[in-house]
Amino acid sequence: MSASQSAVRSRAEAVKVSRTFDWMILFTLFFVVLGGYHIHYMLTGGDWDFWTDWKDRRLWVTVAPIVSITFPAAVQACLWYRYRLPYGAVVCILGLLLGEWVNRYLNFWGWTYFPVNFVFPSQLIPGAIALDVIMMLGGSMTLTAVAGGMAWGLLFYPGNWPVMAPLHVPVEYNGMMMTLADLQGYHYVRTGTPEYIRMVEKGTLRTFGKDVAPVSAFFSGFVSIIIYFLWHFFGRWFASTAFVDGENV
């Protein structure tokens, strides 16, 4: 029997090659997503994610989920429709968080000596699990966008609260009240980030008294739904295959 027709000679070998591909593709996916998503998130979420004194109840809660649902939506579109693999959102967030932590640890702390407790990234895993599981259980893009997008917005603040709450304990400092997070921003001098560019606690949600975080989270969930649709279609388009001739491969 001639072996020239196929690169693999047995079923076992085919399985092995297929497995090798699995690892190579996953590895590539992980780092491509890490790179692209990380840049995207730094450019759009930027300071809100970098500094604890930007992590407020209004804008951080609103902005971070909206700008971060993008890549998970796109990668889900690809992995679900082509492979029925429901880990698109989680793999994105694992990549993003690894990149963020490397950046914060090596650059913010290792290079410029900002304490890690001031510059750690936001937590996004709970929302990613919700997105992936909803996609798997429903198998529907619309359901994932609506239920998943909302869950993504709603889980963000409580998912981060165990880490953020200790930094919102108030202090009296030279006659003014501030939170420990504000104090971090004041103590650890940022020459290039003057206080006035900090966008916190601004907005029009004043009629809700002190319960602005849930309202912001709902609003963020709604916008996340829209962004999910948009990026899901980017992902679909990106994952569509135009086959080329065998000889060109």
Binding site: Q123, V163, E195
Partner: protein, 414 residues
């Protein structure tokens, strides 16, 4: 086949590079040495820093030093720069080598942005606590929204000791004393590790089974529905229920552990108290001003009138933090940075005491290498070639008064 494998391998490598560079390259701005590259007119016509004092030249980790002084918000603020309606008193250091333990304008703590008035002089103080050993250039600095950082004079300061010993104790309103340098760090690592592990577990569940090729074949041959098993569904439900339960439970337990929390504090501070400068009894009119490029000297013809009751002499011309002194009148005893101090840089054609009621026209020359070193001479290439600065006159009792000058400058190239 091999070709494809190579391609994937190559792509992976490119991806790794892209990813690592994205992760590695971004570092928050920490350097404080933009002082010389800032447009000369910005430094001459916005904030005039004077009476600067650095309380120490060498300081041990955990010890404090102060940077004190005054600044005049120049009345002839350039049109091209936003007015300092929103400004932040900063300190120009390479990242948090010191922590800013306090900063005050006119005695008011200014942890947030402030509104400043043109033409007013303010007194400021910055309290710094040494954190990282090394030689650091410590500048006063004012960030102006829409105008950028306006950097003041810098002085080299040495921090000795070890950063390991640095502590930052803070007492909260709930009565707890914490070290802000490491506070909440373990808690942060714990939650991030836990959630990362949960995310990895979800990924691992799917990765253990064959993935892309067989599943792709199945989807394309219409068997997509067989790819998610009942076990998969149950595991998925477990993950989502577990996630929501964990988030809810930790939210409750966190609120129990930290019953008192407040939102971040923000908002503009208004009504900064200006510093009352001594009344001005001298008037100065700039007749003309030229900058001699080859000689690195600025020459002004000034018509000075003394309306006071004590004879005065010109002791200092200060522009963009460079101080030109006439040693016969004024010597610096504050340890002002050498590179910004021209101790004999001011020559006055006739600097004999100007008696009350008298008017005299004098030629004043301010010459020093600092014109070049600090690139102030670049002023002649600015779109609006004006110079500005502070003149300090001293009367018989040594009392000082400050006069601002603001006039066109003509370059002389030969």
């Amino acid at each position: 086949m091999k070709l494809l494998k190579d391609k994937v391998a190559k792509l992976s490598f490119v991806a790794l590079l892209a990813a690592s560079s994205a992760a590695m390259l971004y570092t928050p701005t920490a350097a404080a040495h933009g002082e010389k590259s800032q447009a000369a007119f910005m430094r001459m016509r916005t904030i005039h820093w004077f009476d600067l004092n650095w309380s120490k030249e060498e300081v041990k980790v955990n010890d404090t030093m102060t940077v004190t002084g005054k600044f005049l918000v120049f009345a002839g603020w350039p049109e091209t720069v936003d007015k300092p309606d929103i400004a932040f008193l900063n300190v120009g250091i390479p990242g948090p080598v010191f922590i800013r333990a306090g900063s005050w304008i006119g005695g008011q703590l200014v942890p947030r942005s402030v509104s400043l008035e043109l033409g007013e002089t303010y007194e400021f103080k910055v309290l710094l606590k040494a954190r990282r050993p090394g030689d650091w250039h410590v500048h006063s600095m004012m960030n102006v929204k829409g105008g950028g950082p306006i950097i003041g004079p810098g002085k080299w300061t040495t921090i000795t000791g070890s950063m390991k010993d640095f502590v930052n104790p803070v007492t909260t309103l709930t009565g707890e004393t914490i070290n802000l340098e490491t506070y909440n760090l373990e808690n942060t690592y714990f939650w991030h590790t836990l959630w990362y592990a949960i995310g990895l577990a979800w990924l691992a569940y799917w990765v253990r089974k064959p993935m892309f090729i067989p599943r792709s074949i199945a989807v394309e041959s219409g068997k997509a529905n067989t790819l998610i098993t009942n076990t998969d569904r149950q595991v998925g439900i477990g993950f989502i229920v577990g996630t929501i339960a964990l988030v809810a439970m930790t939210m409750v337990s966190t609120n129990e552990k930290y019953p008192v929390t407040t939102p971040l504090q923000a908002g503009l501070l208004r009504g900064m108290k200006p510093y009352e400068m001594p009344a001005r009894t001298v008037t100065v009119k700039v007749e003309d001003a030229t900058y001699r490029v080859p000689g690195r000297a600025m020459q002004m013809t000034l018509k000075v009138t003394n309306n006071g009751d004590s004879a005065v002499r010109l002791g200092e011309f200060n522009t963009a933090s460079v101080r030109f002194l006439d040693p016969a009148v004024l010597e610096d005893t504050t340890g002002y940075p050498d590179d910004l101090l021209a101790e004999e840089g001011l020559t006055v054609s006739d600097n004999s005491p100007l008696k009350p009621g008298q008017t005299r026209t004098i030629q004043v020359t301010a010459s020093d290498a600092a014109w070049e070193v600090y690139r102030l001479a670049d002023l002649i290439y600015d779109p609006d070639s004006r110079f500005a600065g502070l003149l300090f006159f001293f009367d018989e009792n040594g009392k000082r008064q400050m006069i601002t000058v603001d006039a066109p400058l003509i370059p002389v190239f030969i």
